[in-house]
């Protein structure tokens, strides 16, 4: 890590996006994480995705729990809204915020400790309710912030830095997200931005609960031989099922992959996801098959990555609840508080 702020200088040919920002404009304060932390790479990928999507920073709310991973919203999108909540409580804070103001892009950032242990219940309920959000777990298999205890996602048999083997079974967040009805489920690796950036872009464009499990090696406590979440191990066992290209808007789509190898999925906003198949038998439209595939490959010791499941017709919590389409902060007092007479009428109707 470094204490120095990144100099304001940038490459003379640094491009600007449709709203006139450079990638550098989406950066924030200097990371205080350990040098080489996978989480920093994920921050860089989020920056890249927001830049490429020409997102107006003030339209994003970053919400996180506690952990090194949950600290990262301070290191990207410095001009966006942020709420660093309590350990494991990101999903409920995010859900509340989303209900109050449905117009923002919700970026939930959490860790494997934050989401698979103390916040496991919150994680489950936010997904099953279909909150419209991007839920990113920066998964390093340890509690990084508290110095490297195994987390619930650590694989059974994985070795700690001190040489102790994990004897508990692990929680696979991706499988659970699929089971709970998340409508966009992906897994990626902090060390592969060419895979991760399009996934984040697609997740942002997705309406509904989008979950991305990003394996993110902890350089200080979980990057040694014997760990199943080290850079080297993940690189060696990574099984990508597809490669994603996100086509924004309704631009004519020219795909130059071999015919039959590309699946195109149009999301509700017109964004087209071109999925170049790497594994022929994999169909990201089939939830059941995806769950099977994951289990089968996990048993082989492989880490399946890519866009694992997407339902482009998904609904979200607001449509399920039939809530008002205007964010609450744009409603006037009369609409928000219709008065005691109306309250009486409602109460009467319920008696």
């Amino acid at each position: 890590m470094t204490y120095l702020a990144k100099p304001k200088f940038h490459h003379p040919s640094l491009p600007k996006n449709a709203i006139g920002f450079t990638r550098r404009d989406y950066e924030a304060s200097t990371s205080t994480l350990c040098a080489g932390c996978g989480h920093d790479s994920i921050s860089a990928a989020i920056i890249e995705a927001a830049f490429e999507l020409s997102i107006e920073p003030h339209r994003v709310a970053k919400i996180s729990g506690i952990g090194c991973s949950s600290k990262t919203p301070d290191y990207f999108l410095g001009a966006s809204h942020g709420f660093n909540s309590v350990h494991g409580r990101m999903p409920s804070v995010l859900t509340g915020a989303n209900l109050a103001n449905r117009d923002l892009i919700y970026l939930g950032v959490s860790g494997d400790g934050d989401s698979a242990s103390i916040g496991f219940g919150q994680f489950a309920h936010a997904l099953r309710r279909g909150v419209n959000m991007v839920y990113i777990v920066e998964n390093n298999g340890v509690y990084g912030l508290t110095k490297g205890q195994f987390s619930a996602t650590a694989d059974r048999g994985s070795k700690s830095k001190k040489g102790v083997f994990n004897t508990d079974n692990s929680i696979d967040l991706v499988s659970i997200a699929l089971q709970l009805g998340a409508t966009f489920v992906a897994r990626s690796f902090s060390g592969d931005k060419s895979q991760l950036v399009p996934l984040i872009k697609a997740a942002i464009q997705h309406r509904g609960a989008a979950f991305i499990d990003v394996i993110s090696p902890c350089i200080a406590f979980n990057n040694h031989a014997g760990s199943t979440k080290s850079l080297e191990y993940v690189r060696a066992h990574n099984e990508a099922v597809n490669a994603l290209d996100v086509m924004i808007g309704r631009d004519p789509i020219t795909v130059n992959y071999a015919p039959g190898k590309v699946v195109s999925v149009t999301q509700h906003d017109g964004t087209v996801l071109n999925l170049r198949k790497i594994n022929d038998e994999y169909d990201p439209g089939d939830r059941l098959a995806a769950m099977n595939f994951l289990q089968k490959h996990a048993a082989l010791g492989q880490i399946v990555t890519g866009l694992l499941y997407v339902d482009s017709e998904a609904d979200d919590l607001h449509s399920n609840f039939n809530t008002v389409s205007t964010p609450l902060n744009q409603l006037d007092t009369a609409a928000l508080c219709p008065g005691s007479v109306t309250l009486e009428t409602i109460n009467d109707s319920l008696r």
């Binding site: 100099p7 920093d40 060390g191 350089i219 850079l231």
Partner: protein, 593 residues
Amino acid sequence: MKPTDISAPGYFHKVVDCQWACPAHTPVPEYIRLIAAGRYGDAYMINWKSNVFPGILGRTCDRPCEPACRRVRVEEEPVAICRLKRVAADYKDDVKGRMPQPSPTKNGKRIALVGAGPASLTVARDLAPLGYDCVVFDGDKHAGGMMRTQIPKFRLPDSVIDEETNYVLDLGVEFRGGTRIDSMKALLAEDYDAIVVGSGAPRGRDLDIPGRKEAAANIHIGIDWLSSVSFDHIHTIGKRVIVLGGGNTAMDCCRSARRLGGEDVKVVVRSGFDEMKASPWEKEDAAREGIPIHNFLVPKEFLHDGGKLTGVVFEKVKAEYDAKGRRKLVPAGEPDVTFACDDVLVAVGQENAFPWIERDAGIDFDEWGMPKVDKVTFQSSHPKVFFGGDAAFGPKNIIWAVAHGHEVAVSIDKMLHGENIADRPLPAVQVVNQKMGIHEWSYKNEVMPDERYAVPHRDNASALSSIKAEVELGFDPNLALAEAGRCLNCDVETVFSAPLCIECDACVDVCPMDCITFTDNGEEDDLRQRLRAPALNLTQDIYVADGLKTGRIMAKDEDVCLHCGLCAERCPTGAWDMNKFFLEVTHAGPACR
């Protein structure tokens, strides 16, 4: 691409843009850091070793280093490298004790040097401490050559020339001032072991147009006029002065004329403003002193009345470019322009002249009257005779004369030790780690946008009232510190070790300039396009390293690297390190043999 061999002395040298561009390869960032540390004497001595005349050059150098400075590519204005050199000279303590001592024993070899300009003096400085008997001849009484006779005192005071020429002459060099050499043959007959011709390019071009002869009394050749001013032979000029020409001499002429009574002084140039040979800062200085520059006017005729010059007629021209982009000046088809004037200074070029070298002395000349001189060894066709400075390849500037001088000295030293002078010595290089703590380096690596600081000037009224009052006052120590802080320390190099790299991408993400890419290898043209930021500046190298676990390569574009060291601070394994690269040109002496 093949992996880069960073141990080749040329590789990192090129990254230190200023040092690479400096003809004498002065270790610029090293002396700038010393200035920032207030170690002016040390900064001076580094300069003195490389360029012999830090105080002179700190005021007058053509500064090829500045357009090359990295700061131009990442900000706009270069570091004021040249004026920082002056700071070292202005604020140093007495450095006499640090100078080499005259050699107590002589080696029995005698060297004659014709001309006491920067070229000859550099040769003498390099050879005298080695025991050579150096005799410097000059037709002028004082040493310095054109630095003394041409460059106006308001740019370069005599005291500075005296000090720095004396450092050389005090090394046991014999100076025979006021002794013009009239015959090369006679000199050769004196049996010197080597002769250095550093006689400069002393002839100013004339302008042969109607009226030249009739109005001769008021038409002066620029460099002759300037030396007469220097020698205190001329003290006045007419009120209305036209200076013809657009180079450095023209700028010195017009500014001198303003100080000797010229009230309406104008410069008239054939070419456009941007194509003028004068440096941008010289044009600025002229403008500051109220001197207009008229462009695209070709002198056609001197007007005169009763033997007295009354004006000059000019033809208007315009620039046209042929298919190859070459510029030609063609008549614009507009009416002629006439400027009235009392005096004209002709500064339209400078030429070599060697009237004292007999053409049968064994030295070959080409069809343009220039000696045939080897570009590397500076030897003429006579094995004992070497040329340097303006005499070698035509008029250039002081720093080139110095660079030539070092090379001539190497040639002579090798020759007189019976060695092949075509074998040139490699520079001495050192590469040293700069880490002092987890986030601590031996240099200031916090880089910020910071615009160039202006050098304070004497106010116009008092500057114009004296031909000798120095116009530039130099940076004060605080300004110098601020300006020194703009240097990016391009000599502190990013050094990559592939076996240590775990390909975590941290350096890629933190690099503010998008210099670093991990990717598949390819041919250079292709690779340059595929980097995180396309590497379009072909003059700057790509640093390639292989041997990574994934089989990819690390490719770093050196172009706009800030040398901020953030990559090294962020790297978890120390695969990036910041190493100081120090290169010194090998001068005459045991190291060159």
